[in-house]
């Protein structure tokens, strides 16, 4: 389990995925409450996306090894910086920094199979960006103190699964995918007075002819 799961849990099962989509999108929730056919549509899309990404969501030897490796990495960071600080008062402790680096090496070794697997993930799902991100995070997290930078293939797959389900459900239910200022208005609505979507105040380069300012 990634340490990020403690703060932001992402869906693993199809049921979790449906629940998260409904939680993220009040528009989808409203549509589903008013029509049971929409609920079936969501189940269908969530089922398809879950089958597609499920093989890459924490399971098997590679994920377990990567999970153990992650904690080894945190231990490596602790040993490295702990002995670095301790060696300031007692130089004899400086060689223990090498133990920290050794633990980081072990960590990289345990996570290499998962990084290799992310290539298959990218090829099968088309999420090449996810593959690149996984490998880049793996390399970056090798630096002492940066173990946390590695979020793991599982979370990358979970995020992608959630995004695609949300997008496809919005399309299937005829819900417009909202623009950035509409999402901000939704997000801060209720927090302040007079919040509204500011479409009339946003000049979008590609739609500038259609979007005239209020009073224009």
């Amino acid at each position: 389990m990634s340490i990020r799961d403690m703060f932001n849990k992402l869906p693993r099962t199809r049921e979790d995925l449906e629940a998260k989509v409904i939680e993220y999108s009040p528009a989808i929730r409203e549509k589903i409450e008013g029509n049971s056919d929409y609920k079936r549509k969501l189940e269908e899309i969530a089922g398809e996306e879950h089958s597609r990404y499920n093989p890459y969501i924490e399971r098997g030897v590679t994920s377990t090894a990567a999970g153990v490796g992650q904690y080894t990495g945190y231990l490596g960071d602790l040993v490295f910086y702990g002995s670095a600080i301790a060696s300031l008062s007692n130089p004899a402790l400086a060689p223990f920094m090498l133990s920290g680096l050794l633990l980081k090496k072990i960590r990289l070794g345990t996570q290499a199979p998962e990084m290799a697997r992310s290539i298959a993930y990218g090829a099968k799902t088309g999420d090449v960006k996810g593959t690149i991100m996984n490998i880049a995070e793996g390399v970056l997290s090798y630096i002492p103190g940066l173990t946390f930078a590695y979020e793991g293939l599982s979370r990358i797959a979970q995020k992608r699964m959630l995004k695609r389900t949300l997008y496809r459900t919005n399309e299937a239910l005829g819900i417009k995918n909202k623009r950035w200022y509409e999402r901000i208005a939704d997000y801060i609505h209720g927090e302040y007075t007079g919040v509204k979507s500011r479409a009339k105040n946003v000049i979008s380069p590609r739609y500038s002819e259609e979007l005239a300012l209020a009073g224009a």
């Binding site: 901000i184 500011r198 946003v202 000049i203 380069p205 300012l213």
Partner: protein, 131 residues
């Protein structure tokens, strides 16, 4: 020859009307999470710019009335802009000269978007990558 500014590479511009009052201006900035807003006339011609600092310094600190004070009363002007038919190199020079990291882009005098200095450096090497 330098690259011309591409429409598809511009960001959205957040604007207010010159006659909007300060309450409305501050709410537009809040609802779009922006720290700067362009002031335009009825024909989308850029007239000035208002920052969160301007609202603080020229309205709140001066105890001005947020309902009666208009955007045109507190905006900084003139605003530097660049025409869509200009090159990235020209845009870059103007931004460096005026110490700006974004610049409003106009077409026939009307605002159509914002160009980001970071984009120029990242993708166009300051417009000098062809030389």
């Amino acid at each position: 020859m330098s690259h011309k500014i591409e429409l598809s590479k511009l960001h959205d511009a957040v604007v207010c009307n010159e006659d909007d009052n300060v309450l409305e201006v501050s709410r537009i900035m809040r609802d779009t999470r922006k720290r700067h807003i362009l002031v335009v006339d009825d024909h989308l011609k850029p007239l000035g710019v208002i920052s969160a600092f301007d609202i603080n310094n020229r309205v709140v600190a001066e105890e001005k009335n947020i309902h009666n004070t208009k955007a045109k009363d507190i905006m900084s002007k003139p605003v530097q802009t660049i025409d869509l038919h200009s090159s990235y190199e020209e845009a870059c020079e103007k931004m460096v000269e005026h110490e700006m990291h974004t610049i409003p882009v106009t077409k026939e005098g009307k605002i159509i978007g914002i160009l980001d200095l970071a984009y120029i450096f990242r993708d166009h090497n300051g417009g000098k990558n062809e030389h």
